[in-house]
Amino acid sequence: MDTDPQVERSLELPVSPRKVWEYLTDGALLGEWFGGEVTIEPVEGGAVSFDDHRGGLRRGEVEQVEEARLLVWTWSDDQRLSRVEFRLTPTVAGSRLTVLETLIPWEFHHFEPLLLHQQQPFNRGPMALV
């Protein structure tokens, strides 16, 4: 939906897309810039988890993978579900990384934890809202 809250950021980096891709798909490397402990199975349907070691825990699922070009996952803490898209494009100086995070419609998932008791949730595999 066009009205869904969204945040976009871009970053120019002096290394190849392939190099940046490692920082998106390796759990240990992700942990270094996200902070805390990260696990990721960088395949469609794979699980992701982020523990910031300060009480913040998010889990989710990888939706799309195009090697060195696009990585998409959805993730949730116990309150919000959102989609994160990373796009990588080569530039003269190296690469551009664009991140787009979209809040999935508030009128649903704001109350999704309540609805989970009543019906099947997103049916997205290893999603457990803590």
Binding site: R9, V20, Y23, W33, G35, E107
Partner: protein, 100 residues
């Protein structure tokens, strides 16, 4: 916001649709009924439930009543954008310093 009426209000797909349309702009019961395959009376009942749950606000305007989504969710969205934008700024700054 009391949780039980909100849950009940959102459990109905027509009410979710009404809420979705109102988030695009204010409307009266008549206008909504023209867009949905239900009677004006049915729309009015749904609006009543949504209003009781604190999800929409009534704005009397002459003989008509216009409805809007309550501002709280919008403030929530703005807060989310600030928080998430800030989080990405920090992460990307660390990524840059790792990569360079």
């Amino acid at each position: 916001m009391d949780v039980q009426p909100v849950f009940a209000a959102l459990a109905d797909p027509t009410r979710r649709e009404v809420l979705r349309r109102l988030s695009a702009g204010s409307a009266s019961a008549t206008e909504l009924a023209a867009q949905l395959p239900i009677s004006r009376q049915a729309v009015a009942k749904h609006l009543s439930a949504l209003s009781a749950a604190g999800l929409v606000e009534r704005h009397p305007a002459g003989r008509d009543v216009r409805y809007t989504v309550t501002p709280a969710p919008l403030a929530e969205a703005v807060r989310w954008m600030g928080e998430v934008g800030g989080a990405w700024d920090s992460r990307l700054q660390r990524l840059r310093s790792l990569v360079e």
